[in-house]
């Protein structure tokens, strides 16, 4: 400042004196935010780590549950069953494929297998100043007759107004109450300050890369069609590659505090991965199944897809369309005002809408399809970290996310368990709705 008040302009002196006399006492949240920013960034990091650890322990706990199996190990213990989708019939060990329905429409040449008998398996308040005692209670000066004679728009401390706010800050009128126009135009700007509403509506999209992890029941069961030379870790016998999918969704967020937000919503996920296999002549393949009474059942069919060798390389795709209900929370870890670093996570009860998946046979030699073995309901967890920026009344965010499937993609009857894990970059935009 190189200018002093030596101009001796009484008007400026008057303004300065009056302005300097004016004091406004800030809300407690301002100091709380400052204090948290200066002293407690680690607390939120700790909470984030706790969420990650909880999710991880859930995953580990789920996957480490031993699968016990006992009972009658004879194949096809239920002598007769018809798969309504394919017309394949199983009668003991005899399999008579119906000629026209042995292949799955749209499939890659794999024969439809038959499932054996299944077990039931920021509003603005416009009020005269004299009515605003609650909002202005922190102001030292009482309202007087000047303030009661015109209309003053003030913004209540709680809840904050919505981001689409377009107002004249003060509306003075002539006696005919004509609104003050162009000179007030500068007041009419969108509020770009931090989103003030408690509720926010968010839409998001994410590109996702899907990986899968397979586990199988151990040990290989005597009497089931598991080839002894292929017994062992199923991952050693398959060649799968991650592939790109996507996620689209919307959710409603509710701000519990300046740093903590909870949400619920709906989202669509498309997940897939590639399987390297080989085409071969049609041959019989079987999948050993667990059933409810822990006796052995077998699902058998004809397939022209081999896993380890064949006539020509084939690339298959396992694809899943899922509808989820994401429920969780977001925590602002760092930053204040417009720019913030956040983490979030939660659970996603999931409904499988459709799938086109190839299952490995029990001897790991072939791939076949069996939609009946797909699990309809599943649960996912997700964790994300993102940077958010508030501008133009909207909150924009971008960051990586991790999504993991807690239950196998297939029903408990299938001995091979598949757990999908997805990584992606998520983009989201939010707007206050109240």
């Amino acid at each position: 400042m190189d200018r002093n008040f030596n101009d001796n302009d009484d008007f400026e002196e008057f303004l300065k004196q009056k302005a300097d006399q004016y004091k406004i006492y800030p809300a407690d949240r301002v100091w709380n935010n400052i204090y948290r920013s200066l002293h407690h960034p680690g607390r939120w990091i700790g909470l984030g780590l706790l969420i990650i650890l909880t999710g991880t322990s859930l995953l580990i706990g789920k996957n480490s549950i031993p699968v016990s199996f006992s009972g009658d190990l004879h194949p096809a213990s239920h002598p007769a069953a018809v798969n309504h989708a394919t017309g394949l019939q199983i009668n003991g060990d005899a399999i008579r494929p119906a000629p026209t329905s042995a292949r799955i429409p749209g499939g890659k040449g794999a024969a439809m297998a038959v499932l054996m008998p299944r077990t039931n398996a920021a509003s603005v308040s416009v009020t005269p100043l004299h009515q605003q005692a609650d909002h202005q209670a922190v102001l030292p000066e009482p309202a007087d007759e000047v303030s009661s004679s015109y209309t003053l728009i003030t913004l209540p401390l709680r809840p904050r107004p919505t981001a689409s706010l377009v107002i004249p800050a003060l509306k003075f009128t002539e006696h005919n109450d004509k609104p003050v126009e162009p000179a007030m135009a500068a007041f009419r700007r969108p509020v770009t300050s931090p989103a003030p509403g408690k509720f926010m509506l968010q839409f998001y999209a994410s590109s996702m890369i899907s990986y899968r992890r397979l586990t199988s029941d151990k040990p290989a069961l005597t009497g089931t069609p598991v080839s002894s030379q292929y017994a062992g870790n199923v991952n050693s016998y398959v060649h799968h590659k991650p592939a790109a999918g996507f996620e689209l969704g919307g959710k409603l967020l509710y701000r519990l505090s300046d740093n903590l937000t909870v949400y619920g919503g709906a989202q669509l996920n498309y997940s897939r991965y590639y399987i390297d296999a080989f085409s071969y002549k049609a041959e019989k393949a079987s999948i050993a199944l667990n059933n409810k009474s822990f006796s052995a059942d077998t699902l058998s069919g004809y397939t022209s897809i081999r896993n380890l060798s064949g006539f020509a390389p084939e690339q298959l795709q396992n694809q899943y369309w899922q509808l989820s209900v994401p429920l969780g929370m977001e925590i602002a870890l760092l930053g204040h005002g417009r720019l913030q670093f956040n983490i979030g996570g939660g659970v996603q009860p999931t409904l499988l809408l459709n799938s086109n998946a190839y299952l490995i046979s029990s001897d790991y030699k072939n791939y076949l399809q069996s939609p009946d073995l797909a699990r309809r309901f599943n649960v996912h967890t997700n964790f994300e970290a993102f940077v958010s920026y508030k501008a133009g009344g909207m909150k924009w965010q971008l960051g990586p996310q991790f999504r993991s499937q807690l239950l196998s993609s297939y029903s408990n009857q299938y001995k091979v368990k598949e757990y999908l894990t997805e990584f992606g970059i998520k983009f989201a935009v939010s707007k206050s709705i109240r």
């Binding site: 400042m1 190189d2 200018r3 008040f5 302009d9 009484d10 008007f11 400026e12 002196e13 008057f14 303004l15 300065k16 004196q17 009056k18 302005a19 300097d20 006399q21 004016y22 004091k23 406004i24 006492y25 800030p26 949240r29 301002v30 100091w31 400052i34 204090y35 002293h39 102001l139 000066e141 007087d144 007759e145 000047v146 303030s147 015109y150 913004l155 401390l157 904050r160 107004p161 800050a169 003060l170 003075f172 009128t173 004509k178 003050v180 162009p182 000179a183 007030m184 135009a185 500068a186 007041f187 700007r189 969108p190 509020v191 770009t192 300050s193 931090p194 204040h336 005002g337 501008a391």
Partner: protein, 192 residues
């Protein structure tokens, strides 16, 4: 606590000293923010951001001037930086608003309160208000204002002249000052 002990405590990042400093200066600084901001919430956000800067940069304070003045400069710059992020502000600060305000005449208040004057300042279009705040109240020169707002020095002068005229009209219509003898009334109202 003395200002010196507060300063030493803040340099050690002691929460008690920081809270004492905040409690001492935040009401005045929030009033500064309020004159620049669009609304109370924006003002509190500016104050929060400004005080975080104060505490994180307190080691740069050199005891060569008033501590309050140093804090105030940080707060004012924080306010300006926040305003400059808004496109409409940048447009309005560089445009001459020729239209006058229509203000209903009011009865003469018995006591001229600082609050009424501040509220009258806040009636001004944001470009006018910012230049008037910086020049008349914060004491920045038009050259400094031009640099701060990325406008010509002459633009700052003309904005200020019009802002001053407009504010005088408002104050007259609100009968905080009288038109025929503004300056005399100003002087007389100093003691109120």
């Amino acid at each position: 606590m003395t200002e010196d002990s507060i300063l030493k405590g803040c340099l050690k990042n002691e929460a008690a000293a920081q809270k004492e400093l905040y409690g001492r200066y935040s009401p005045k600084m929030l009033a500064v923010c309020y004159r620049f901001a669009h609304n109370r919430e924006d003002a509190e956000d500016m104050l929060q951001e400004g005080f975080i800067k104060v505490f994180s940069q307190i080691h740069t304070f050199r005891n060569q001037g008033a501590f309050e003045g140093w804090i105030r400069r940080i707060i004012v710059h924080t306010c300006i930086n926040n305003l400059k992020k808004n496109r409409k502000f940048n447009e309005s600060v560089d445009i001459i608003h020729a239209t006058g305000l229509q203000v209903r005449e009011e009865s003469v208040p018995s006591i001229v309160q600082a609050k009424q004057v501040v509220e009258c300042i806040r009636i001004l279009p944001i470009g006018y208000r910012t230049v008037l705040n910086l020049y008349a109240i914060e004491g920045y020169s038009h050259r400094e204002i031009g640099n701060m707002l990325a406008i010509e020095e002459s633009t700052s002068r003309s904005q200020y002249t019009r802002a001053k005229q407009m504010l005088e009209e408002i104050l007259v219509k609100k009968k905080i000052i009288q038109q025929t003898a503004k300056k005399a009334n100003l002087l007389s109202s100093f003691g109120t």
